[in-house]
């Protein structure tokens, strides 16, 4: 699947009837653009160095690129986003950064009202996205919060529809359970 020229891959694993995991792998870190950015910073630094004859500039440039790289890999670049749906427990969203750092959020099933595909206006474009509707504890019929999924990879609609269908199948199970109980 392709999104804005970037390739992303959807992987779906079924652990059991009530437990499914979807992971969307974004485009890996592009060496070309990273090295281009680094080179441009260094070139600018070298130019400054030639102008000022101060070697501090060069060391500062190296330091800045290193810091920038660490920040980029650790806080910005998301490698993979995955969604784990366990029928009786809840929905867990994990996004793993390029550096290996993972941030996870788990939403209990009792809070989940529904999973829907929604439209939004994003950067002069109308895009579709998948989101979890959270139930308002005070009023079970209303939605208290909308949690968007796959925020950084932004898969296209056909991809979303697949995930949506699977999610709905699992949510169906939950509904029947609650009916029986």
């Amino acid at each position: 699947m392709e999104e804005r020229g970037e390739r992303i891959a959807l992987q779906c694993r079924q652990h059991s009837a009530s437990c499914r995991e979807f992971s969307v792998r974004c485009q890996p870190v592009q060496l070309r653009s990273l090295s281009a950015a680094t080179c441009s910073v260094w070139l600018a630094a070298y130019w400054l160095f030639v102008l000022t004859q101060n070697s501090m500039v060069l060391s500062a440039a190296i330091f800045i690129t290193l810091i920038g790289l660490i920040v980029y890999l650790h806080f910005v670049k998301i490698d993979q986003e995955s969604l784990l749906v366990i029928a009786s427990l809840g929905i867990q969203m994990t996004s793993s950064y390029a550096s290996g750092k993972e941030s996870t959020t788990f939403i209990e099933m009792s809070q989940v009202k529904d999973v829907v595909i929604n439209e939004a206006i994003y950067m002069q474009k109308v895009i579709y996205y998948l989101c979890i509707l959270l139930r308002d504890p005070l009023d079970p019929q209303s939605v208290s919060e909308v949690v968007p999924l796959f925020q950084s990879s932004k898969p296209r609609l056909d991809c979303l529809v697949e995930v949506y269908r699977s999610c709905q199948e699992i949510l169906e199970q939950r509904k029947t359970v609650s009916q029986i109980l």
Binding site: H15, S18, L89, T104, F106, P137, T176
Partner: protein, 576 residues
Amino acid sequence: MVVLKVFFPSCCSSAESGLLVGHWIPEQNSAVILAVFHFPFIPVQVKQYLSEVRQVTQVNVSVLGTWSNCKKKEESLSEFLEDLGTIFSHEPWIQLCKETDSKFWSCSVIQKHPSTPKEDEIILVYYDQRKVMLSHLHPPGNLTNSTDHKAEDASKLAVIFDTVAKSKVLFMKDRYDYGPIKLTHWQSEGVEASIIVELMKQASIPVCMLLTFLLSFVSSVCKSRVLKFWPLSFIWSKLSTCEQLGHRLEHLQVISSNRKAQNQPQLMRKANIFVSLLADVALGILLMSWLYRKNRIGHLADTLIPVADHVAKELQGLLQWLMGVPAGLKMNRALDQVLGRFFLYHIHLWISYIHLMSPFIEMILWYVGLSACLGLTVALSILSDIIALLTFHIYCFYVYGARLYCLKIYGLSSLWRLFRGKKWNVLRQRVDSCSYDLDQLFIGTLLFTILLFLLPTTALYYLVFTLLRLLVVVVQGLIHLLVDLIDSLPLYSILLRLCRSYRLAAGVKFRVLEQRTGKPLRLLMQINPLSYGRVVQTYRLPTYSCYPKDSWGSLCKKLFLGELIYPWKHKGEKQD
């Protein structure tokens, strides 16, 4: 299809075969295993023991099933285990079986009453008993305000956490006595440490009482009427040191009060205040030890007077420059001279004042330095006050300049309206057109012309002194910000998050362990620690707000109109 969830403590996975003891939560269809009772045992004793535990913990602990940990499957044992189900009747009866060579356990559930639908799936969730017991769950931000509602609508995970935390007693009980029943569960090892803690707890009571007494004495002195008279109270309100001291006094009162903290947030608050106080005092003493070594105070005093002198000289130079043709600007000579002389006279006064003070400076500094033992924040506040005092002449210049400029701006704006044949309607708050008399027009325009041509001179003086004032305000503001940071940072919580991240849980996360078809799904439940941002946000200590109240836009407008600006603190009070 109903899913049965079994929460199993990971420390019990190597336990010998026995009974599974835990709490059954019917509405979630899940079993929380708390411990394993080993063979052999006498059923009556077990039942009696469990009823005792139930009484103490208020948790409905019961035998939920059996646990077998053996090399290979034995027919006799499995029959025996099934029979146990008749003795400890429980619905449903869980049979967990681990074969040592395999990671995948088998689990079966026996239902006596087939009225409930077939349960065709079992999820095994491993959890770390110790961490779950000690952790404190923080629900997502928006739910915190509806605490009263939470009781009935408590999330499922919170119930599980609660169950484990409440059955703490179950784990304690076994510490020293080796009774008839053998259990496997998490066990604490820090017995000696806990003895020290107990001793400290005992010792803290008289210390607290002494402190409370002292504090009540100090606060009564502070509240005495002698200090309430006008000039004194005015000074108190202006000095940031006094405010900081008052703040710390409040903190000490909170710590030393012998009321027990009722809930987790209050406990954390006390601990945070305590740690931040300790850190503050430690930093203060560090500063003091640095200051009083090698006669640094004397050096400081020796440099301070020349610095003040130097500042005054620089100001004089600045004024001389302004009285000439500053930056090529041509100003009204007469007004320029008048203003310049006025300010020069002020500087002269200031220099003589400083010289009068110079013999005492070292002594003053020495005594002021002692205050650092009350904490770094107090020392910083004193520093801020000293800066305010030493730059009093700049403040005076600023006020004169601003007043003059403000007057001109207001005069010009109203005369500009007259110039256009308009007037400000106070009742309707808008500009109305108005027909003026000829003489009014003439005088208005004359004054307008004069003010307009004199404006650049005043504006330049105002600009220069405002820049100086802004410099002072920024320095003072930074000091206040630092003090505020030390005051409000929840150090204890941050340390806890750093070293024992499971203690502050934002929630949980699950990891799917590898699995085989036909065997139950295995999940590992881990604690998701709170992010640092939320730790600070949740446990931030309240301080008197000293952040800029007005936005940059309104600040610029104030500067343009010549209204007085003050440091970020005491905004409401300094209005004169």
